[in-house]
Amino acid sequence: MIAKQVNQKAWFMVLPVFLIVAFSAVIPLMTVVNYSVQDTFGNNVFFWVGFDWFRDLIHSERFHQAFLRQLLFSGIILAIEVPLGIAIALTMPKKGWGVPLCLVNMALPLLIPWNVVGTIWQIFGRVDIGLLGHTLAALGIDYNYTQDPIAAWLTVIVMDIWHWTSLVVLLCYAGLCSIPDAYYQAARIDGASRWAIFRYIQLPKMHRVLLIAILLRFMDSFMIYTEPFVVTGGGPGNSTTFLSIDLVKLAIGQFDLGNAAAMSLVYFLIILLCSWIFYTVMSNVGEESSPKGGA
């Protein structure tokens, strides 16, 4: 790395950003910390309860289940979206009129407000008026996402694939486009099979973007709230109540502030840990791919 110039005045350039983000991040977080160690009987009278809320949370069956559901959900969508995204990126055209067509169409779901994504799938899956629900019913398949937990899970997963696979595709596609033609030519000369080209050229060159895709998808799916909430409302029962949905139910639905605050902090710490891993891995990958310092 070329050594950067040391200049403490640079803080002044960062200061506005620091202040705005701090205003939006630190003050609310303090509120949360405050709530997490107090209890109230209403009327804004609070008293100190120490770490009781955290103790409750750690032993809470409800939290455990929401956490497990969350992990299962993130695991499933990663296992589907990443290979699918790679496969689609590999088959996308590299030049010609097909490129903007693919890019624009594929980016489209990413720019739909999340609750509209939920609405689209809510309508699409309904047995009475939705194309998917109606077709499945016509085929004699018993499908009702408002009553059957498995159907609800399937709907939420297919919806997430529909919504977010494009992100993986676009990232991988960008990685693939950066491979110079010479690599493919050399591989042909070396007599490499299609699989060998993928294994030894394309996959290593996608390494970086793929990592980003996996981590982003993991974290975003870990925070998912709006889309499943609109479709299933966390139900049937609690079957699709993921961490965020549970949290909002606690905080705004039941106004159970102490519990919600403790949960927020634990939740936030999990995310923080993920961010740290993400950041470390990213910086290491950056250095590995540019041994001489130039990117």
Binding site: I123, V248, A251
Partner: protein, 265 residues
């Protein structure tokens, strides 16, 4: 390998099918939606759209969304520019920690912040204003903007700065006249992603607004929870929220691949 093109075609078909269904429904009357199952409207009608464009409680939602998204994009890009420059060019006390801390906010679950935000903005009297939503969205968009811009700026050789200073440019003049034109496509990509994340977010936007600044997506949820809802109008409102995104993608389609290539989303 002859059939390779089929994969993206099938995928795009899968992507467009639910959207088509939404548009299809928006062009039907409510009676038709509930009584006949048809792949395309039997009695084509634009009444649903007419409702949205004539009823203030509907169309003001679009205006509100547009206002706070625009404010957010402007704030994010303007403040992120000097900050990203500082991160890409200088080293200063705590720079790495600050950068990491900014990034963690990109990863922060909005659900955690919903309630405290509500209290914070209520207490300073900004509740139900556009600026409140725009500021709240800065929580994740500002770090994102700094991150993307820093990537683009690091790709610009330092010699450009040095040459300009030798030529007697002051820093602000250099930044506006020379540096910004150099990273124009980076700014475009950044604005695109800021627009995207502000436009699609609902939880915070809904929590911080009640009437005056309520976003269109929140108005839609209200309709969903009401009984005997008007599916046609709901579909039309949904279809209209897709439009701004589609337009924006169309304008940046040639830069989007580059933005993703940096891998900083």
């Amino acid at each position: 390998m002859r059939l390779k093109w089929l994969v993206p075609v099938i995928y795009i078909f899968f992507l467009l099918l639910p959207i088509y269904w939404l548009v299809n429904m928006s062009l039907k009357t409510n009676e038709e939606i509930l009584s006949v199952f048809s792949l395309w409207p039997q009695n084509l009608t634009f009444d649903n759209y007419r409702v949205i464009f004539t009823d203030k409680s509907w169309y003001s939602g679009y205006i509100n969304s547009m206002i706070y998204v625009s404010i957010n994009v402007v704030i994010s890009v303007t403040f992120a520019l000097p900050a990203a420059y500082a991160f890409s060019r200088y080293s200063f006390v705590g720079d790495k920690h600050l950068f990491f801390w900014l990034l963690t906010n990109r990863m922060a679950p909005p659900a955690v912040f919903a309630l405290p935000f509500f209290q914070l903005y209520s207490s300073i009297g900004l509740f139900d204003s556009h600026i409140a939503v725009a500021l709240a969205h800065c929580l994740f968009n500002l770090p994102l903007a700094v991150w993307i811009l820093e990537g683009f700026m690091s790709g610009i050789p330092k010699e450009i700065d040095e040459t300009a200073f030798v030529d007697g440019y002051s820093w602000p003049r250099f930044f506006v006249k020379i540096f910004i034109p150099n990273i124009a496509s980076g700014i475009g990509v950044t604005a695109f992603f800021c627009f995207m994340f502000s436009w699609v977010e609902l939880l915070l936007a809904r929590t911080l607004t009640s009437v005056n600044a309520k976003p269109i997506s929140a108005i839609m949820t209200r309709t969903v929870s009401a009984s005997g809802l008007d599916w046609g109008v709901l579909a039309a409102a949904g279809a209209l929220t897709i439009l701004p995104g589609a337009l924006v993608i169309w304008f940046v389609r040639n830069h989007i691949a580059k933005g993703f290539a940096l891998g900083r989303v």
